[in-house]
Point group: C2
Chain length 387, copies 2
Amino acid sequence: MVGRRGLSALNLTFLGTASAQPSLTRNHSALALRLNSDVWLFDCGEATQHQIQKSKVKMGKIEKIFITHTHGDHIFGLLPLLASMLNGAGGTADGVEDPRTHMVQDSDNRPIEIYGPLGTRAYIRNGLKYTHTLLGAPYVVHELRFPSDPPDGDYTSLTLHASESPNGRNIPQTNGVWPDIYHDTIISVSAAPILHSVPCVGYVVSEAPVPGKMDPAKYIPELKRTKTSMSVMSRLQQGESVELADGTVLHGPPRRPGRKLVILGDTYDPSPIAELASSADLLVHEATNAHLPALDPNTKSEDTFESVEARTKSRGHSTPQMAGAFAAWIGARHLVLNHFSARYPGNDDVNPMTKTIMEAIARLAGEHYSGKITCARDFMSCDVEHV
Amino acid sequence: MVGRRGLSALNLTFLGTASAQPSLTRNHSALALRLNSDVWLFDCGEATQHQIQKSKVKMGKIEKIFITHTHGDHIFGLLPLLASMLNGAGGTADGVEDPRTHMVQDSDNRPIEIYGPLGTRAYIRNGLKYTHTLLGAPYVVHELRFPSDPPDGDYTSLTLHASESPNGRNIPQTNGVWPDIYHDTIISVSAAPILHSVPCVGYVVSEAPVPGKMDPAKYIPELKRTKTSMSVMSRLQQGESVELADGTVLHGPPRRPGRKLVILGDTYDPSPIAELASSADLLVHEATNAHLPALDPNTKSEDTFESVEARTKSRGHSTPQMAGAFAAWIGARHLVLNHFSARYPGNDDVNPMTKTIMEAIARLAGEHYSGKITCARDFMSCDVEHV
């Protein structure tokens, strides 16, 4: 739970920005969202814990993990991360009891929550079993079930793991999406399918409406005139209406929509999430392959923008132009391109050649989109802001 | 297959030397053995492919992978490594056929061979299935079954994976060990149980006998005297006997034993492998915890050598003294200590403080052993030599 006092920080740190294979400058997919001091992780490719060690993200603060799809480059880091986070290494010699064998499932021991498509739970349960891994704290897996998925069951013949909470939900779609899979008083998460080579989802993180901008000069004279305590200012700030001693009613400024962050997994067509994602303050969209004939020496002589797009789509992915077009469609205010092929190094902060390539990729996205565009690199951090 | 012409290089590269959790200077367990140009891997903790990228080991040359036990810190890097080695990333969009769906199982497509205890096959098969991973070349898993294991079956309800060869063997023990689980004309591998918190094995890699040292002065006068072709020298070098024209018989120098390398997994008592491991030229032995009262600020005031050893053993591990005692018992010529707690950084090549600690650890092992002792660090490389 993020807390009741509202969000100050809503900060994204890219822990990995590579598609498929890691390079020396980009790791597999993972993204940390910091909400005040809590951390939510989106995807968890191999060596995400190594990236966390090198970043400012605190592993012990991770409360929830959202998986977009179960391809290895998005999930192979999950079991080792759980083992490190939750005291899951090692075991005891014969005759020495391991205290982790009997997990305390009580309200003081709130499980790490993991969300993902069908197979997420089975992957974790099987992986923990065959590696003899016991965790020092529980976890729970909530699965987003597609209409073609079995609506119930765990998709594995293995029974519940000793460290697994039995409260994992199988969440069916409502009108083609998964609304409010998590919510508290200040934040909610919804999900929707996006098209890829395997079942894949995007996540929409929405902040509850926040207090409107308040002009004190509009209220203070009235409060003074009626000798009303200045303490009502905080009620007005929250958007409430206050009746004064003389019957005058003051109306606080109407609450404004909170921030909206959209994080997509791999996709060649995210249209099913368009409505939920509408007016995002920040959209993270993959851009695996680009056609850069003058810059990329690997360009084939017969390649065209059309042929590269067709090949990219056939593998379930997007070009920068496709990402830009989607950002324009939903009216996103800031587009962060992510999930680049290993052929595009991620050291564009120090290498002029790489910088030229990433700028060219951003320009391709800008052909269809006029908002702010950023190309992600590992350890890049950015705030989600009302633009 | 290593080849028929004998081994020149027999080189070990330590890709990870940490127990349990990685640090900035030590990764999880993995070790590459280079035999001429082939590579065999022993254990494969998370981010082993990242370590390979930073080393001189060639991923594409890996032919066999030996797992000592299925604890996560020894196996979590295996699936992502297979995916990277064997073109296992990604997939295709709806309506586009994935050529990896139908694996060609023929003799030209020799599978990557993986050896490990019960659960290795199930771990891989389940992990590939739930991550939708198809490989571009086949793999096979041979399991070393303990007497208490089921002798048959795959230990999972899942059927064979599309990329998995059906020729995986379940290898029973013979007299308490697994002799010759692999052999060709110049190298063989045997395995034996070692005691840990979960079923765990050690591997013994033995080179076939090699030609003895030859003194040409002993043969050349005889060959000249009898006008025998000098080409028989190569037969003599191989240890053969040659009859000359006058009936004299020359005997080549007797073949000497080849090199022997012993790689142990985690253990608090490796005695079941002692006989197989006898007279090893190089022994890799874990030394997870040490009592270093003057050097390690985390030392508890009540700790003694005895209490640290008892705690270490209760978790299935060894101290340097235990490693030294075993090296002395089997008559090993070179002991490499490995698998250190995260509290011992691995940058002792550049940091004098760390160097002092690693030297102290080596001295503890030397209390019971007078041979050569080396403390492993990541990317350290050493040849297996007849000492």
